[in-house]
Assembly symmetry: C2
Homo-oligomer: 367 residues x 2
C-alpha cells in the first residue's frame, strides 16, 4: 500500500464502513445530559400519574356545586391545592383561587363546576407507553427534566467511544499542539481518550478507535504507515485534502480502526474533523457530518482553489450573509484560523468561485 491520494469521498466511505454505533450502557437520568439515546424511551406510567390541579385553587367535589350561582353561593370545605398537586381523594374539580371567597375553613362557590374542571386527568399529557424520545436523540436539558418527571431513573445510552491516542512522529520543537487540540475535539464529539505508546496503540485491543499522530508523510523517516501495515492493515494512505493530505486509514493488530493523522497542526485538525471525528461521531451514535452549523453566504472576493484536491478555506464574516476568504492553511498553517468565523469546503472538482458567488459556509459555534 504505497502513498496514493484517494478522494475525500473514498476516505469517508472507508470510515463509514469501518465504524458503527457502539452498544448501549445504562446511566442515571441525572447523568445523561449530552449522551445519545440507545433505545426509544417510553413513558413508564401515565403522565400525570394521578389527576392533578391545573392551577392554584381549591379542590371540590363537583356535585356539591350543583345549583351554585351569584345569588345562591354554596359553602363547601376549604381544601387548598397548588398547580400540579394530586387532587385529594373525594374531589374531582378545582375552583380557581381568586374566583371564590374563602373563610373559616370553607369556600363560597358562586358558580357550578363540572367534574374535571381545572384539573389534568391521569394520562392526559402522555399515556403509559407513549414515546418520549427516540433512539439516537442527543439528550438536552429538557429531556432530562421530561424523563425525571416521567419517573424514569435509568436510561440506555450509547457507550462513549474510547479513543487511544499515540504519537508516531517527533514532538515539534515548539511543543505539542496536536494532543490538546485532539483531546478538545474528542471531548466535543463525545469520546473519552487514553494516551498510549505507538507500539501499544498498534497492539492493544482495549479501545474503540486508535488515533496515531505524526510520521504520516511519504518520506523515508515517516514510520506510521509502514508500522500500521506491518502490525495490521494499511487500507488507504493519502487523501486529496488540503490540509490533511497525508492521512492514513487501516486496522491495528487487534482489528481496531486506526487513523493516521498528520503531525502539522492544521493538517492534524482537518484530518481529524473530516475522518477521525466522523469515526468518533458514528461510534457515539451522533450526526456524523461536520459538527458545524451550515448556511449560505456570498464571497466578498474570489476564492481560488486547486482542482483535484478538496480544500478547507477559512473565512471571516463581513456582513450577515457575506464572507471574506482569508489566508489559506497551505500558506500559514493553523495561524489561518485566527480571526475566522468559519470555513468553506471547496470540492475536488472546483477551482474556486468568483467574487459574489453564493457558497456554503460552516460556521464556528459562538455559544
Amino acid at each position: 500500500m504505497a502513498f496514493n491520494r484517494v478522494s475525500v469521498d473514498r476516505a469517508i466511505a472507508w470510515v463509514d464502513a469501518a465504524t458503527s454505533r457502539l452498544p448501549t450502557e445504562d446511566t442515571a437520568v441525572s447523568a445523561a445530559y449530552g449522551r445519545v439515546l440507545g433505545a426509544d424511551v417510553r413513558a413508564p406510567r401515565p403522565i400525570p400519574v394521578y389527576a392533578v390541579a391545573a392551577l392554584d385553587g381549591y379542590a371540590v367535589r363537583a356535585e356539591e356545586s350543583v345549583g351554585a350561582g351569584a345569588y345562591n353561593p354554596l359553602a363547601v370545605p376549604l381544601i387548598t391545592v397548588s398547580a400540579g398537586d394530586p387532587i385529594p381523594e373525594g374531589t374531582d374539580a378545582v375552583a380557581p383561587i381568586g374566583q371564590v371567597e374563602a373563610e373559616d375553613g370553607s369556600i363560597l362557590l358562586s358558580a357550578p363546576l363540572a367534574p374535571g374542571d381545572n384539573l389534568s386527568a391521569a394520562g392526559s399529557a402522555a399515556a403509559a407507553g407513549a414515546l418520549l424520545a427516540a433512539a439516537g436523540t442527543l439528550l438536552l436539558p429538557h429531556h432530562i427534566g421530561l424523563f425525571a418527571s416521567a419517573g424514569l431513573v435509568e436510561l440506555a445510552v450509547v457507550r462513549k467511544p474510547r479513543a487511544r491516542l499515540a504519537f508516531a512522529g517527533s514532538i515539534p520543537t515548539d511543543g505539542d499542539a496536536d494532543g490538546p487540540m485532539l483531546r478538545a475535539a474528542l471531548a466535543r464529539d463525545g469520546a473519552t481518550v487514553a494516551a498510549a505508546s505507538f507500539a501499544d496503540a498498534l497492539a492493544e485491543p482495549d479501545a474503540d478507535l486508535v488515533l496515531v499522530v505524526g510520521g504520516t508523510g511519504p518520506g523515508p523517516d515517516d514510520r506510521s504507515a509502514a508500522a500500521l501495515a506491518a502490525a495490521g492493515e494499511l487500507a488507504l494512505h493519502g487523501v486529496a485534502l488540503r490540509p490533511g493530505e497525508t492521512a492514513g486509514f487501516g486496522r491495528t493488530a487487534a482489528g481496531l480502526p486506526a487513523l493516521l493523522l498528520p503531525g502539522a497542526p492544521a493538517d492534524c485538525l482537518w484530518a481529524y474533523e473530516l475522518f477521525a471525528g466522523r469515526a468518533v461521531r458514528r461510534l457515539a451514535g451522533r450526526e456524523p457530518a461536520l459538527p458545524y452549523r451550515r448556511g449560505r453566504a456570498a464571497l466578498a472576493r474570489k476564492l481560488v482553489s486547486v482542482i483535484g484536491i478538496t480544500e478547507i478555506c477559512p473565512v471571516r464574516r463581513l456582513a450577515d450573509r457575506e464572507v471574506e476568504p482569508l489566508s489559506s492553511f497551505a500558506e500559514i498553517g493553523l495561524a489561518a484560523v485566527a480571526g475566522t468565523d468559519g470555513f468553506v469546503v471547496v470540492p475536488e472538482a472546483s477551482e474556486g468561485w468568483p467574487r459574489g458567488a453564493a457558497v456554503e459556509v460552516y460556521w464556528h459555534p459562538n455559544r
Copy 2:
C-alpha cells in the same frame, strides 16, 4: 412587591442590569476548551519562530545551486527535512522530495533554487504580537491547537459562574425533575452548581447567582417571593410568559442576583432559559440570547396564542422549511417537548399566525 406580571422584555432588562461578565482567571491552554477568553490573545513570538521547511525535501544553500540545469546537475550535501522542521543552519531553501535524485550522502540538483524557496520564513504566518483571538471568543478545538502551537501555556479566561441552587417548594410526589434539568442547563451554559438550603441561599455570599426553585405562586402557601423580599429585595414577581409566569427576580441578603423559578417543570425550564440562563450566560461572557440556532420555517397549521403573554410553542419539523405546532406546555406541561425539534416564541402582542406563515424557529441542537 405584589405579584404583578411584567413583560418579558422588562424582566430581561432586569437580568441585564443585574449581571455582567465575571473577572478572569488563568487556566492552562490544554484545559481551556469551552471557556471564554477574558482578554485578547496575541502571538508571544513569531509564527513560525524559525524558518521551517514548507514541504518534505532536502535543505540546501541556494547559492550552491546557481547554474544547475537538466544538462548540468550539481551535487550538494544530502540534508533531509520534513515539512515543519526548522531549516538547518547554513541552508536557506528546500528542494522538494521527488524532484531531485539522492544518493550516497548527496543530492543532484537539476534546477537552481532561490533563497527562501519552499520554506516558511520566521513570522510569515503571524508576527509577534499579532492577534490570535479576541476577548469574548468561545474557545474551540482549533483555538487550543493554535495557542499551543504559538507557544502559549496559560490563558486568561472568564471565571465560571457559580450558581447556588435551592428549593423553596415541596419536592413533587413524582420526584425532583427540576434539579437534574437545571444542572444540565447550567453545565451547558458554563456554570458550576452547588446545592444549598433555601435559608443559606438567601444569606450566604459565596456564589455569583442564586436560583430558587418552587414556591413562586401568588398563593398563601408560596413562600419564595416573600422570603426573598424579607431577606433582601424582591424586584419583580410575575412575567407575562407561558410557561414561566410566576418567575421572580431580586437580590439576596448578600446582594447576589436571585431568580425564583416556578416548580412545575415546564415553567421551570422556560423561566431558566429566558432569564436565569441569560444571567448565567452574561456572567460567563457568553452570547446571552437563547442558546439555540434560529431559522425561518412555514407553519403547517395555524398557531394560536393568547394576546398579552409571550408564549413558548413547541414545534416538530415536517420538511426542510416547514414546522407543525404541537400540544402546548399549558395543556400538557413538559410532556410537550416529546417529539419536538424546536420551538417558536410568540411575542406578547401576537395572537399567533395563520397556516403558511413564516415564523422564526429555535432549533434544538442535534450534535
